[in-house]
Symmetry: C3
Subunit: 371 residues, 3 copies
């Protein structure tokens, strides 16, 4: 009888384990009784900050939001120019191409009228002209003079951009539960909002971010990133348990660099693009200022799941949990019949009342134990 | 025997209830037999409308799409400028800052050369100059004259924008089922499309929206919103049952305001941003027209789920439903053994054939009843 | 005994079938033991290419990235202008409207001062003026002269755009598993990246796409699409099994046309929008060049799911699989008791030991067989 109790205890323990898993893990930890919904989000972004530069080409110059945010508004993202190569007064015409392996020439035979390469700035005219004192390159028809982007300004042109601030307004919505919320929490008043700066410890719900702090939190160096540009992820996580109070559903901010810092594995490292400002000079001729803008793009990425009690997942989990309880019996049986010392005695007992072999087969291994 | 029938009936009733839940709720109502997929969507937006203004600064002026949609195209969103503060002929130079708590000064000591505050328009030069007859403020190096945005034009500058129309073309795709559809349904012809305006009752599938109607549907006042701007959600819901005909999978439009109307809880209420148009004057000097654009941003938010019969969720739901049927037996047992008057008789019967206590324990409470 | 074996065999076969389904289909094929997560993605796009046009209005002119990508940067999309209708030197003033059904007039009575139609270019002044030799139309106050977009240039203005290349950098992230990856795989070096072009067979992981190849893969004709514009989907699928090596999680590219080619079912087929470049002429008057830009918008659509072993779905699937095994017994029973010739013998046997009708009822049809 002592051994008998052992088996019984074991069976109960296995059942208890399964019960603990179903209740503890599935229901308490993973909230298996909840229906989930994914997020629908809308983001608006506003940058603030002014900085000044003083170069020989441009003279003293102030840069404000209208100058360095390009385009002026986007949906979930904002681009802040931190460095630039400006090519003033470009007009349509002919000029020598930048020298490189394929464009350096000695005579007209080296150039092919109409040829355009992948990295060309214009269409070759077929002439070979002087680029500077020692080098001749193929002439191209292009916006002239051609942009020379071999040397990026060091340090970054708008190196003070690290003090700029970004205000992110985020509105989320869980359609299945018709639950909407904003990242500017109702508990925050406008006086606080006017002077706060996000800080994970002291101001975790302030929606205003200082660029330098974002960089730091992502483990990046602003001055380094400002030169060649880059893409930063400003992640907002909204994991909400809607069985609890709505006020407990709050955003969680985190920051991550999204582009590949390691330039070995990438073409055109960093982030840059070209745009132009078009002018008409007095004679009516079109001219432009070409700007190769390096800068940091902040992608606001909103994600998360909301859960709320629902009968379907609850029932599915209870049902499959009950089915698992049956495993305990099978396990116990196997042990009793095959691994215990007194197994012959049990087997005898077990099959004593089996009178119809057919029905035994029919009910299967699991149920047969109940006979 | 009467009581016995009662117990049997009860057991059958509980089983019936569970069966009804599995069949009715899980399968019919929640479509538990379907695999679901989330949407992949692409949106293009086109605005139409012309309006005219007549102010003392600008004279009579017509505004068309190229003037009031900024930037000219975006992915899932469109911004329509409804109000603006224009600062003409800004050039780089020195001028007095706008007066506020931190910028009003009495002497040069109050100003600090190089200082830039969060709300500054430029970099302080360290001088204290006259702003107007009575007030002196710190001089700044900035785009001068500085923009004065204390008074927003009332009523909104482009108050007739409520008659503009927005054409939304939406293409959705459910990758798992390779099912694609457009919001311009095949049943709609181009004659209808040229003159229709969306109306929830009469034209629920017309993809052309009059702004004023969107506002109304969202319970907003256009004229009020036009002054300070705002963000509107144009929601397209595609809930498709792909076990039925594809023609039953149609878009459902709804509208919602996404920004916080209540200005107590927010900084910079409404929606606005600054951009500039750059010019060269005859002497080659760069000048710009700075525009603080207030307006309504329409975010097109596409969401939904498609479901299609799949063996996996069907089997999971059947399996866990069957497991739940077992609960009926347990429940019935508990009642019979513990709550019924004749329970002693039943217990006796029940345990009569139990010869091996060990095996009884092993099979557990549920199965033991079958002995 | 022969029949008995038949029944037993059948029961085992049904059980085997269910087991095969659970193991084979649910676990091996559909990976039912995995927790899934949806993707968070960030995309940057860079276009390269130069082309030249020569028209009577504009003369020889080179077009580079700053000219044909509008706006210069967007989040998940890029627009490449392929065709255009340019209206030079528009100024605010009065001029005749384009002739159409509603604007052709004979006398002033046909025109209504202040009237603006849906397709108007400006606000009617009430006058009826000469449009050309034979036609008179209502005069409007608008940006004059009015754009005439009845004839789209054929072939497309920038027909050589098919040789442009698009570099797509995509960074994905599965938040639940904190797994991040880029579409520029670590196995790819920068030498390869500088010269490669995506090809499904030879270069499936090169992130640089030639436009003409994208078109071909989507079954579209570039020259046809270039005239009226269109929207192309560049789909990146990231289906990752995170139980395997991270290097096996690779992007899969595919291409699809997103707008409706069939112009019968749509208004304004293709894809176009209007934007303007603003100038100041010498007298300080504002003028603009209005451009109706037709072109191809490439929407980069990133989707996919990552799966990783997790105890919850595993247990749910095992549990419901076990419950399904019970079905085998029920099925077998039904056959034995109702459809077999010797059923009376079995029934007798089966109910021999049933002493308490109540308990029999209580345990239900399924369990009663085990008595």
């Amino acid at each position: 009888m002592i051994r008998s109790r052992k088996v019984g205890l074991m069976n109960r323990l296995v059942q208890l384990g399964i019960l603990a898993y179903v209740v503890g893990w599935v229901f308490v930890w993973e909230k298996g009784y909840q229906e989930v919904d994914s997020i629908v989000s809308s983001v608006t972004i506003k940058v603030k900050g002014v900085t000044m530069t003083n170069t020989s080409t441009l003279g003293p110059r102030v840069w404000d939001v209208a100058d360095y945010v390009i385009p002026p508004q986007e949906e979930n993202t904002v681009f802040i120019m931190t460095n630039m190569i400006m090519t003033l007064n470009q007009t349509q015409g002919s000029c020598p191409e930048l020298p490189d392996k394929t464009t350096v020439c000695k005579a007209e035979e080296d150039c092919h009228a109409g040829y355009v390469g992948t990295h060309s700035n214009g269409v070759q005219t077929g002439n070979c002209v002087k680029y500077n004192g020692s080098i001749k390159t193929c002439e191209i028809y292009a916006w002239c003079p051609v942009e020379d982007d071999t040397n990026i300004p060091r340090p970054a042109f708008l190196k003070d951009a690290e003090n700029f601030t970004i205000l992110v307004k985020n509105n989320i919505w869980y359609p299945k539960f018709d639950f909407a919320k904003r990242n500017i929490l109702p508990s925050i008043n406008s006086t606080y909002l006017k002077r706060c700066i996000y800080d994970p410890q002291t101001d975790p719900f302030c929606p205003i971010f200082r660029i330098q702090k974002i960089m730091e939190a992502a483990g990046q160096n602003f001055q380094e990133m400002a030169m060649e540009g880059g893409v930063m992820g400003l992640q907002i996580k909204w994991n909400c348990d809607l069985d609890k109070a709505a006020s407990l559903c709050v955003p969680k901010y985190s920051f991550r660099r999204l582009d590949n810092k390691d330039s070995r594995y990438t073409v055109s490292p960093g982030y840059n693009f070209r745009f132009a400002k078009y002018y008409r000079d007095t004679s009516g001729l079109e001219a432009r200022t070409l700007i190769k803008a390096y800068g940091i793009r902040f992608d606001v990425m909103v994600f998360g799941k909301a859960g709320k009690f629902d009968i379907i997942p609850t029932m599915i989990n209870i049902g499959s949990g009950l089915a698992l309880l049956g495993v305990a019996t099978v396990l116990c049986d196997i042990i009793v019949l095959y691994f215990m010392k007194r197994r012959h005695f049990y087997r005898e007992k077990k099959y004593k009342y089996v009178e119809d072999y057919e029905l035994l087969l029919c009910t299967g291994g699991e149920q047969s134990l109940n006979d």
